[in-house]
Each structure stands twice: as C-alpha cells, then as structure tokens.
Amino acid sequence: MMPIRSHHLFSVTPVSDTSLISLPPAAEADLVRRLQARDESAMTMFYDRYSAALYGVIFRIVKAEEEAEDVLQEALVKIWNAFATYDPSKGRLFTWVLNICRNLSIDRIRSRQHRVGSRTQGLDDSLTAQRQAAPTAFRPEHIGLQEITQKLIPEQRRIIDLLYFEGFTQSEVAEELNIPLGTVKTRARTAIKVLSKLIR
C-alpha cells in the first residue's frame, strides 16, 4: 500500500515553466543589474512586466481600484529605494517584489481596520464584511485560475485565500474557520503541494 494520500497522476506530467510573469533567468538578471545600477528607465520595463500581476494581488487584498493603484505606486517607489536590499541568491525578483506589495497592502487594510473597529470584536466584524464582498467580484479568464479552481477543494482554496489575500496568520485562520491549528497547517501544506504540481 502506498504511504500517503491519493494523488492525481495526470497532473504529474512535467511542464518546464508555466510562469508567465517571471522573466527567463538571463533577462531577470539583466533587469536586476540595471536596477542595481540605478537605471531609471529599467523601471518602465519592470512596470510593463510585473504590474498586472502585482496590481492583481494588491487589488485582491485592498479591494478598491483607486487604493490599489495608490499602493502599487507606493510599492514601486519602495522597490526602487530598497533595491540594494534585494539579494538574488535568496529568491526570484518576482518573489521579493510580490512580498513588498503584499506587505504594503496588508498594512493598508490593517490600518483601515484600526480606523473602523475599536477592539478585536469590531475588527473581526469589519474583516468579515470585507471578505464577503470580495472573492467572486471578478473572474479573470485565465486558464491557470481555472485549473486551480478544479484542483483545489473549496476548503483548501479558502485557507490559501485567507492566508494569501487577507493577510491572516495561520492561527487567525484556525480561529476564523473554527478548526485546529494543526489542520490549518496540514491543509495549507497540502494545497501548496497541489498547486506546485501544476507548475512543474
């Protein structure tokens, strides 16, 4: 008997690189060099390559067009100013900039929640209200998203969305969904495993 849970055999077919945003390594290294050399014209190229993906994530988190644009602009300036701290040996450029955008967006919604709600209870209410308004508001006709929807069970997707787009910690997810922390960890890991099969 095989040791672990069932797997979808047909997803294992290797795919070289389904990534559409990430540049090929040589082009990415070139862009990094130009940004390190403080070449401002490289920001235009950076924008054209990454803005749609970054905007997508920011918009998912802050859930308002104007604010998303504002955060994107703030993020780009921050990326430029903090570029010296980017270390290519620690990860891809896209990972680094994505984290900057996520952090700024999450800071933004957290500060908004502080303004809205007084203590934890009020804070939770405002979180719930936002979350209900958001998820299915738009549906990019993107084949990757269709695949994700097919392969993840709704519970897994919900956990990933809470962690990724709502800025919840794993403990907060456990509290929100009223399930043990261990279950959150397992489900998050399983979901990421399922997703990672889609890209390799």
Partner: protein, 294 residues
Amino acid sequence: MENIQDYIESGILEQYALGELSVAEQAAVEAQAASHSEIREELQQVQETLGFYAEAHVVTPPAGMRERVLTNVLAQIAAPTPSSALRADVDAVAQANHRPAPTETVVRSIGSATAPAPAARSVWAMAASVALILSLAGNALFYSRWQNASTELVAMQNDQARFAQTSQVVERQLGDLRQENEVLRNDEFKAVALAGTKTAPSARARVLFNAVTHKVYVDVRSLPALPAGKQYQLWALDKGKPVDAGVLTAATAIGEGIQHMKDIASAQTFAMTIEPAGGSVNPTLSTMTVVGNI
C-alpha cells in the same frame, strides 16, 4: 538539525513565505535554508507556488493607470539625482542650443584675421542651425518611436508568454487524456460498475482495477454534490475488510476525468463514502453513496 523532514512538515516554510514570521524567525529559516539543500529547495518551491497563485489572479489595470503610476513613480525616484535617460536628452538639447554662441565667437576670431564676407558666414550659421534643429527634431521623433516600439515589444512578449503558457496547459491536458485513453483501452483493467445506494439511487461511478499491477482508477458519472468540508473517499473491500483507496479531488467528483487512486493488492468490492476533507481511517458506512462488486 535533528530532522529536516520534521522541520519542513512543521509548516514554518509556508509561514516564512507568507510573511508571518518575525525578523529573528525569518533569519533562522534563512540560516536553515542556507545550510540544508532540501530546506532550500522546499522553500523555493513554496515561494514559486505562491507566486504562481498570485500570477493566476492577474488583473487588467484600469485605463490610464500606466501613465499615471509611471509618471508619479519616475518623478519621485528621479528627484534626488537627475540622471534618467530622458533628462540626459533634455540636457543634451539644452547644451546643443547654447553651443552656437561660442562657435560664433571662435569663427569671429578667425574671421577677424582673414576677414571673410559676413553674409556668407550668417548663411552658414543659419544652415547649421536649421540642420541642428532638424536633427534634434529627428532625434526626438526617433526617441519617441523607439520608446513606443519597446513598450509594444514588452506587451508582445507578455502575450507570447501567455500563449506559451496556455499551450503548455493544453498540451498537459492532452497528455492527461492520452493516459486516460491508455487505461481505458488496456484489457488488463477490469471495469467495476458502482451503483447508487438507497441514499443516492441515481449516483453512478466506475472503478478500473488492474489485478496484475494493482493500479486503481476511478471514473465518476454522477455523484451528489458534497456538503462543505467533505470529500468522497474510495474504499476497496478485501474479504469484508475496508482498505482506503484514497480521496477524490473536486474535479474527479464532478466527473472531469479519471483519477489514479492508491494501489490495491486485492479486492472483491469497491465503495465510496463521504468523509471529512482529507479522508478518514475507517469508512463512515452511513454515508456510503455507491458500491459495486468485481
């Protein structure tokens, strides 16, 4: 590190990638990744997967955003040290416009020695100015065309990457279908019809069981929709004893395709129950939805 696998399984890499950790905890993870290649690879995989998840949610930005954002960003980052390519061009133009004056003085000083006709001199100066203006206008035009071209090129590269990705996905789906076809046409596989129980009389599914290789596939025709937090789980009954054959993915449960389940050494009956997401150790018999004998 006592156990690398335990460390990976602990979920700390996911927390790192999701930005949940304190600075000290982050540094600890980075140190672990630096000294253990398994951890490094796993972390990289988690990060790339989350990047892929982000990419899948790409949104077309509102009209005019590119100009607004880029203009503001370039203005902000250019403020302390004016060195952008555009600025350099503007400077060049400014310098070029000032150049005729000193050139004229040089000409005059030579002129005072050889005394050429002043009319001829001003004709030459005018011609030079016209040439310079034309050249500058030409440069400005080429510069803007070049900029447009490079923007279009990036847009086209994006499109191309998108098509490449789509065709990869289609190719993979084709590969899936090919493999399904191989299973379906393989005589070694025995089709076991699973019929609905009293709780779901219209439910239908098939199990394809290869007694030689012990491989098991499931093919759903119709199953009732699942309540939240539940998953279908397949069981093989061997001499009355239930053996877990794995849980069905959401796609399989709605009949999207056939799914490879866990290997089963021997079975006389297959059945499906509804279990909490992730599956159970023992079947919940009251939720048995379909069952069938080999």
